[in-house]
Amino acid sequence: MVSSINPSLKMFTVLIPGIVLGLTYDVFTPLVYLMFILVVTFTMTTIPLLRWLKFFSPFLLIAAGFAWMTMLYTNQAFSGGEVIFRLWMLEVTTGSLQTGLSVGFRSLCFGALSLMFILTTDSTKLMLSLMQQCKLPPKLTYGILAGYRFLPIFRHELKILQQAHRIRGVARARGIKGRVNQFQRYAIPLLANGIRKAERVAIAMESKGFTGDPDRTHYHKMIVGKRDWLFFTLMIGALITVFVLSYHLGYLEIFGRSFG
């Protein structure tokens, strides 16, 4: 199961394909890898389909927008081939269609990969693992976690601010100037309170003996085991396989130059 994979290693497993896929400008490579990611997502995780779709649909919109833009406004290095159709003054060629689709599928790959990470990773475990595997200093990781825990408090404080304003008869703002004023009325107190809390929490942590010394013990030990490396090999191996396959079939294209 993906949710039990070591978070740091999972992070790198998700990042590497994202970076490497940036090289490709053919349709085949990102499309096949996308299908692989989907298979992994639906066989090796327990994310409910509806929940996944809810998160994935914005990516679909963004990817479609990006593909459409790339297709209409491809530069000359990528827009070879015959003209398929014209739109106003713009010509869409086979080259630009291919580039557009490729860029779209690529961003869907990023989306699917990061969803696989986000929906299966516990934030505290991620920080613990970043500290134990990636050797991030405890001062940094616990500092980040302390700040992150303020999120629900912010929401609560925003509500209090709104109620306080209402009870004193501050009307809802109208017009741009009013909006700016309103923003100032909310943003400054919220941030000021946040900073005050940050200071207090830091002092509390230090007074209870938190020194930020990297040489410390951990209650929750995060380890990288055989299963974690297996997952890494699976994801990266599939990426390499897709590239090799695409090369052999003659589809592979890197920065508008085809190989194979």
Binding site: V14, G18, G143, G147, F154, K197, A202, I203
Partner: protein, 201 residues
């Protein structure tokens, strides 16, 4: 690496990351609206360029408030981690772009040897962040395949957004915060106090 940081400074950067992470998500709706207007022209993704400055504001505010080498980079990186913790759908890829953006802002502060925090330097830091993050997007998002005029206009929108939102607005917000007195324990607040003492004396 963390010797130079006090714990309260790290928590402060993290809190800034949380606040602006949420604000960015709110602004995302603005980008979404612009996007819808631009859809028929096939320029939809450019809608987000306008709000890009919100992304960079954390590093510039942190550098301006804390005034230490590495503040811009560390703050942006921390903001990236916080975003991932919040479960932002963009996921771990954010860490990479955060590091690249942080480096872009840090570069400008490094050139001034972390001594100059006037408005023009903050704006310059925003602009540098915009340019460096744009170079990264050329590769990562495949924008390199776009027509040159489109790239040029996207870049200029991003630069203006970064200069205004993160440079000008970031400074204004930090100054307002310093006036409330909560920054007394940090470099910006100390400087303000010194100035006020000087004025009254």
């Amino acid at each position: 690496m963390t010797k130079q940081w006090k714990l309260k400074e790290i928590v402060l950067m993290s809190v800034l990351g949380v606040v602006f992470g949420v604000i960015y998500l709110l602004f995302f709706l603005v980008g979404e609206g612009l996007r819808n207007i631009l859809v028929p022209f096939g320029l939809a993704p450019l809608g987000y360029e306008v709000i890009y400055g919100v992304w960079f504001i954390v590093s510039i505010m942190a550098a301006y408030i804390l005034r230490k080498p590495g503040a811009a980079f560390t703050a942006e990186f921390i903001a990236g981690v916080v975003e991932v913790l919040l479960g932002t759908a963009a996921g771990p890829g954010l860490l990479l772009s955060a590091a690249i953006q942080g480096a872009g802002a840090e570069l400008v502060f490094a050139i001034t040897k972390w001594k100059d925090y006037r408005l023009r330097i903050l704006i310059l830091a925003g602009v540098s962040t915009a340019i460096i993050s744009f170079a990264w997007h050329l590769y990562f998002a495949g924008m390199i395949a776009l027509a040159p005029w489109l790239l040029a206009s996207a870049l200029s929108v991003r630069i203006i957004s970064a200069a205004l939102i993160s440079g000008v607005f970031g400074k204004w917000l930090s100054d307002q915060l310093a006036k409330t007195g909560v920054l007394r324990g940090y470099a910006l607040g100390k400087e303000l106090q010194r100035k006020q003492k000087h004025d009254t004396a």
